[in-house]
Each structure stands twice: as structure tokens, then as C-alpha cells.
Symmetry: none
DNA sequence: AAGTGGTCTAGACCACCGC
DNA sequence: CGGTGGTCTAGACCACTTA
């Protein structure tokens, strides 16, 4: 990417975005380092300042860069780049937190949907559901207790996968399920007697209860998950905008 | 908000943002409805198109509006607005949940920043801080206990505002503080002996602990808030994307 | 054809920062 | 002081939608 092609149907500001992204990816620019100034880009590529500005502002919005009045524009740290709440698997979530994820399957059964699960997944009561109950460990110690309810039609392709080590989402993606979005809720609760042993904390300890409904690309829910996270090991951070 | 004040130090594009936000809040514009065109705003307020455009683009980025090429710009549905977790005041949050917010001020003092507050706000220890401790009620019943630490330099303009009924953010916005983003974390915990009376639940009840650092448009933190929400009345929902 | 948003120009003045 | 980003102007041509 040597320069900007004026003849191209691709907008100039977009070409500049790609150029800057490339520079960062190739580590010509490192985290914390200043990128060339707006006026510098104008001269170098023969574009107007507003155009250079649009490219830079969009990258700032995406979290790749940050600006400081009077000083310059800088490459953001990786952790700042992941600001927005992303839909990730437990495996990826733990990796981001610098821990190693593993799992132990407690139960795995095909059963008819009960009233709650049927409502959450928008299917008739009695529809076949794969229920999967797992202890999720981080660095070998219990982090959460998780119960997934998957549409059997979707999940049957992953029945024989090794769910102890691998990621369910990884398996689903290989099976052609494209995840579009999820609705997730956070609530505080207490660890029950039944859960205490699996989580390795006393009953009555605080716990973060997370519920999630995951939708495929046709906006159909295919998974309903309830998790109990140990409050002493887990917190959620997000960035909010006005 | 009748028009745009050319003499004001507040940028024109930001004044226009406020005007559009107001129109939506007062339901002069409803979800799915088109807002005036860019050129219409230019004429109405005597500003250039790029300025009107900047205001609109930022509101699109924030999820309040969406644009369709050749058709116009429209007000987003509420549920779409909340897709990316939005930064709202307690007052607005309760309104969205169909409840009426009110507050009781427990403490309000100017004091030097301690080590934790100083670190969270990125200032020197001893910097003057306005500490505001409030019970936040929803429909007249306790919902949360909230302690705000505000930079005194920023907060002094709102000292005499009626914080019992009004929104702190509303007051800050009137005072010219422009909120850019916030970092918020969720954690589970238990209600302490000291908090139990204020919240109207027994000590040891589950509680959602929310911490927030709010940044102005220069990326300077000006507020650090710790809140304890009753788990039986409050849960947080967000939409995640892959 | 008229109106919308999408892109772009070539300037301008300002506030802030570091030297 | 010179350089940076922040704001703003008054135009321009384009692609797209709707009528």
C-alpha cells in the first residue's frame, strides 16, 4: 500500500485507514507511539485535512488510536482496543484475562424443553434440547458452573466433540453455525448448597449470575445458558458511551 | 434550547447534538421517524453542513440515530439504542425500566482525595474532591446506595443544584461538562451491616456492586462512583456481538 | 427531478502542548 | 515559539432513493 489511488472507487479516507492499519499491523508503529500528524498525511498523500481527519477519527472511534490535544495521535494499547463488550467463549474470555481455561462435564443429556427453556429459545415445549452442565476451571481452579441448553437440531453435530478441553463455540463454528449476537444479563446471587462443592466455596458466598441467549445469523435463538461465577474470581468490565 | 449560541464556548456541533437529543427525549421525534436533513439544520441554525454532519455522525456512532443512503436519518428504536451498553444516569435508567427515580442525600462533603480515589481519577493525593453519598430510590423504595467522588473543580458548579430530585448528569451537562465515556465494572457482593438499613434488606443479602469511572471529552476522568444495588430489584442486560 | 446522505476541497482561527 | 489537534466555513460533485 504505497499511496492513495485517486481513481479508485474506494474513498480516500478509507484507503488512508487501511494504510494506517497496515502500519500498525506491520509494527512500523507500536503501541504508545505517535502516528504522523494530520497535516503530515495531507502532504504525503495529497489530500485535504478533513479527509485525513475522517480516517483518523474513525480509527479513534474503533479504539485503535487515541488523541491528545496539542500532543498528537497515538497507537492504543491492545487492551484498550478491546473496549467494547465482545461476545466471546469462556475459553477466549479466560485467555484474555491471562488464564488457562478447562472444563469438566457434569451432565450431558438430551431432554424435552421445559417451560422456561422453551420460552427462552422461542420453541414449543417438548422440543429436543441438549442440556450440558459443566464446571469451568481457570488455571485449574473452579471459576463457574454453567448449564447450557442447546437446540438438539443445532447441537447434534458437536455431540462427539471433546468438550472438556475445547470450546463449544469453536465446535459449533466448524459445524457451520454462525453466531450473530447474544443477549446477556448480569445479576448478583448466592452460591447454593448444591453448587458449593463444585465451585469450591462455601454455600452463601456471593456469585455473579450470568444468563445468555445466543442468536444465529437468522436471528433465531439456539442456546440458553445460565452460569454461576465465583464473585471472588470474576468481574465484568465494559466501556459505556453516552 | 431554541437555537445555537455563536458566542458560547460550547462548540456548535455539540449544541446541535443537545438540540437533537432534546427533540428525541421530548418525543418531538419518535423511534423510526426521520429527523430534519443535514441541509435543513444548516439553514435553520445558520451553520455549515460539515458542522451539522459532525453532530449527526456522533449521534449515529452513539446508536441514537441511524442513516440510510438517499433516504434520510432516523431515530433508532430504544432496544437498538441500548444494544451497545449505553451510559445513562440513574434517573434515565429507572425511567427506561418504567420506574420513577428519586434520591436522598446522606452525605455531601468536600475532602482531600485518598489514595484509591486519587488513583482512579488520575490526580494527586489531596486534590479536592466532592464526595456525595446517596440512597437511590425507585418508585419510592431503595434500589441502590451510591457514593460519587467528583473532582471539586468540575462539581462546584452543581453544588447548589437540587440533587434529591434531579439528575447529577443533567446538572453537569447544563454546566458545560461534556461526558465522553465511562468504564464500568460489575461484581457480585453482599450487603454489609452498615448498608442494610439504608437498602431495606438484611445484611448478607446479595448485591450487585458497580464501579464506574467517567471521562470528559479530553479523556480526563472526573468522576468515580461505587454503587451497591439490591440484587432482588436490579439486573443488567446487554447485547454482545462476536 | 428533487432530495438525501457520502465524499472532498482549501482554506481559517482557536486552545493546548512542549521547547 | 512552532506544531498538534479541535472547530468551522462555503462551497463542490457523487450515488442513491423516492416520486
Amino acid at each position: 500500500m504505497a499511496g492513495i489511488d485517486t481513481e479508485s472507487p474506494v474513498p480516500k479516507y478509507y484507503q488512508l485507514k487501511e494504510i494506517i492499519r497496515d502500519m500498525i499491523e506491520k509494527e512500523e508503529l507500536r503501541a504508545g507511539q505517535a502516528i504522523p500528524s494530520e497535516r503530515e498525511f495531507c502532504e504525503r498523500y495529497g489530500i485535504s485535512r478533513m479527509t485525513a481527519r475522517q480516517a483518523i477519527m474513525e480509527l479513534v472511534n474503533e479504539g485503535l488510536l487515541y488523541r491528545e490535544q496539542g500532543r498528537g495521535t497515538f497507537v492504543a494499547e491492545k487492551k484498550l482496543q478491546q473496549e467494547a463488550a465482545r461476545l466471546t467463549s469462556f475459553t477466549q474470555d479466560m485467555r484474555d484475562r491471562g488464564m488457562r481455561a478447562s472444563s469438566r462435564v457434569l451432565e450431558m443429556e438430551v431432554e424435552p424443553a421445559g417451560p422456561v427453556v422453551a420460552r427462552m429459545l422461542g420453541v414449543d415445549r417438548g422440543t429436543r434440547i441438549l442440556r450440558l452442565r459443566r464446571v469451568r476451571d481457570a488455571d485449574g481452579e473452579p471459576m463457574a458452573l454453567e448449564t447450557s441448553h442447546l437446540l438438539y437440531e443445532v447441537a447434534k453435530g458437536v455431540l462427539d466433540a471433546d468438550l472438556a478441553s475445547g470450546s463449544l463455540y469453536e465446535e459449533l463454528r466448524k459445524a457451520g453455525v454462525r453466531i450473530a449476537r447474544a443477549e446477556q444479563s448480569y445479576e448478583a446471587g448466592l452460591v447454593s448448597e448444591a453448587e458449593a462443592g463444585h465451585l469450591g466455596v462455601p454455600a452463601g458466598s456471593p456469585a455473579l449470575l450470568i444468563e445468555r441467549i445466543t442468536f444465529d445469523e437468522n436471528d433465531r435463538p439456539f442456546e440458553y445458558v445460565k452460569s454461576t461465577y465465583r464473585a471472588d474470581r470474576y468481574r465484568v468490565t465494559t466501556v459505556l458511551h453516552p
